[in-house]
């Protein structure tokens, strides 16, 4: 059984058209981009803030641009990319509205993964511990974690609706890391662990 990050990679790979132009925001060590370049022959570039990650990307031969994505994507013109990816990065973004707007300015589609804070395990953790635990934070303690955005699936969906963006496709990870294409029940917030959306510019 593949882990959620592995499945997410596969889903993104499935969505992205061969030989398209891809911008990966918060590309880390470039694993996803590298896969996309090898398997889909995309013309890809990563954006990273960390010098160590930049070195890793360069070592893989990936083009990478050091920048803070919260400060905008002014380096790129409108529609410079077919896809702009924000995978496992939303939780550290300070200005999600402007980042998503920027993604849909420079790209035709935006791919965004979201971890659902309302997932039942998180609720149990809070109930038992009375606080946000390190597992929920992914890394660090309350005072030094870069993870500052805790969002529920329902909140995120209504946020997308308010922003007027169009959901072109989505996958949801249920317990046991099973991925499904559609869920629209009142229990979403309880049962979905993570979700990944492909967004378009709306009408």
């Amino acid at each position: 059984m593949l882990t959620i990050p592995e499945q997410t990679h596969n889903i993104i790979e499935g969505w992205i058209q061969p030989r398209s132009r891809v911008l990966d925001l918060g590309c880390g060590d470039g694993t996803l981009l590298n896969d996309l370049i090898e398997k889909k022959q995309v013309d890809g570039i990563g954006v990273e803030i960390s010098q160590d990650m930049i070195v890793k990307c360069l070592g893989k031969g990936i083009s990478v641009y050091q920048a803070d994505i919260d400060r905008g994507l002014s380096q790129w013109d409108e529609l410079s990319f077919d896809y702009v990816v924000l995978n496992a990065t939303l939780q550290v973004i300070h200005r999600p509205v402007s980042v998503i707007n920027e993604m849909l300015r420079v790209g035709r589609c935006a791919v965004i993964s979201v971890s659902n804070f309302g997932y039942w395990e998180n609720r149990v953790r809070i109930l038992l511990k009375g606080c946000i635990t390190n597992e929920m934070r992914l890394t660090g303690s309350w005072h030094d974690t870069p993870v500052i955005r805790f969002v529920c699936l329902s909140e995120f969906r209504s946020f997308l609706y308010d922003m007027g963006v169009e959901v072109l496709d989505a996958r949801f990870f249920l317990p046991f890391d099973i991925a499904v294409m559609k869920t629209r029940t009142p229990l979403d917030n309880l049962l979905v662990k993570e979700a990944i959306f492909m967004l378009g510019r709306g009408k």
Partner: protein, 377 residues
């Protein structure tokens, strides 16, 4: 045993035509090379020096205690690994370290050229190096790299001859000088020309305009380091207060600049400073490659042939505290080359060392360069 190197001189006995149309009857090119050219002759890396640099980029000259100016980057196991690469560096035309310049003797008159030396452009600097590459039998290079003015030559060369380079590395540089950058250079030039010893450029049999040139260098040095670094290094510290004369340098920073100025005049020619800074100010990459006229040979890009740059690789590096060539200018370089479909990477290194970081912060630069070069092969 340290690595020992000697500067070689290539004599060109044919006339050399400059971009301005003026001719030089012949030309010397001073260069050094480190490492070995492989059998496929494709492991060469060309190093481009900055305003006050020279061809002595690495290793030691016999009997010297100080190595070349970028020795921290060039050598066995270093960023430009001489166990793998054949590294070449030459002195620019109009310089004063072995390559023909205003202080060289004009064979027609038997006197130094002085201001009869023709004006020089970044493209002329590049063309001279092409003669050198031809002489060395190198038709393809792994990379071309330079910081500051070296970055300008790098970009010019890469765009003029897109087919011969696999990649470029441009550090702390710009595609064109801003008004402020031109202004700083102009003050330096005026300082030289205001020195009576400059004498319209004819000083080669007299005492050179040391006062003017050292002031030019002092101004330069202020722009090469950051305000923060200057403050931390010198603050308001004083030394040598016992001097009776008024207006003697008493602040540490004054002594520092004084020292920089004096040590510079011992090794640099004032007229070369005028020619090279003018070439820098006149440099404008975009307009130089978008002109319609063709100049010397059909290999020249001039806007055409630029599509061969597609999928080539570039690495652009800037430094957070470099206020001479701020990061925005580096980002413009990335934008420009990305537009030509070059696969450009960009990193901004956090440092307090200002523009000089391209020489001092070699640890971070090395890590980037090494990763980048390793991925090319």
């Amino acid at each position: 045993m340290e690595n020992i190197v000697e500067t070689s001189i290539l004599h060109i006995d044919r006339p050399f035509r400059l971009e301005s149309g003026e001719m030089l009857p012949g030309l010397d090119i001073a260069y050094e090379a480190y490492g070995k050219l492989n059998e496929a002759r494709d492991n060469a890396i060309l190093i481009e020096h900055a305003l006050s640099g020279n061809s002595h980029a690495a290793f030691y000259h016999k009997g010297e205690t100080k190595p070349g100016w970028w020795d921290v980057m060039i050598g066995p196991g270093k960023a430009f690994d001489t166990d793998k690469y054949f590294v070449i560096c030459s002195n620019v035309i109009s310089g004063c370290n072995g390559t023909t310049g205003p202080s060289s003797v004009n064979p027609a008159t038997g006197m130094p050229y002085a201001l009869t030396f023709p004006p020089v452009t970044m493209r002329d600097m590049v063309e001279v190096q092409r003669l050198l590459l031809g002489h060395l039998g190198i038709e393809r290079l792994k990379s071309i790299v330079g910081g500051s003015m070296g970055g300008m030559q790098t970009m010019q060369f890469f765009c003029d001859y897109p087919s011969i380079f696999d990649s470029f590395i441009c550090i702390a540089s710009t595609m064109r000088h801003s008004a402020q950058q031109i202004a700083f250079n102009e003050v330096g030039r005026r300082a030289i020309m205001a020195d009576p010893r400059w004498n319209g450029g004819n000083y080669y049999n007299e005492v050179p305009p040391e006062g003017g040139l050292s002031v030019a260098r002092m101004i330069g040095h202020i722009t090469y380091i950051s305000e923060k670094m200057m403050q931390e290094k010198f603050g308001r510290l004083r030394k040598g207060k016992d001097s009776k004369a008024v207006f003697r340098p008493s602040f540490e920073v004054e002594h520092y600049l004084d020292y920089q100025g004096i040590s510079f005049v011992r090794r640099f020619d004032a007229n070369s400073y005028l020619y090279i800074t003018s070439a820098i100010d006149n440099f404008d990459l975009v307009s130089s490659i978008s002109g319609t006229t063709r100049f010397r040979g059909d290999n020249r890009a001039r806007g055409k042939g630029l599509d061969t740059l597609r999928k080539k690789k570039g690495l652009v590096i800037s430094f957070t505290s470099d206020w001479l060539y701020p990061s925005q200018q580096a980002q413009d370089i990335v934008r420009f080359f990305s537009g030509l479909n070059v696969r450009v990477s960009y990193t901004e290194i956090e440092t307090d060392h200002g523009h000089d970081a391209f020489l001092t912060d070699y640890v971070q630069v090395s890590v980037m360069v090494k990763s980048f070069l390793d991925s090319l092969s």
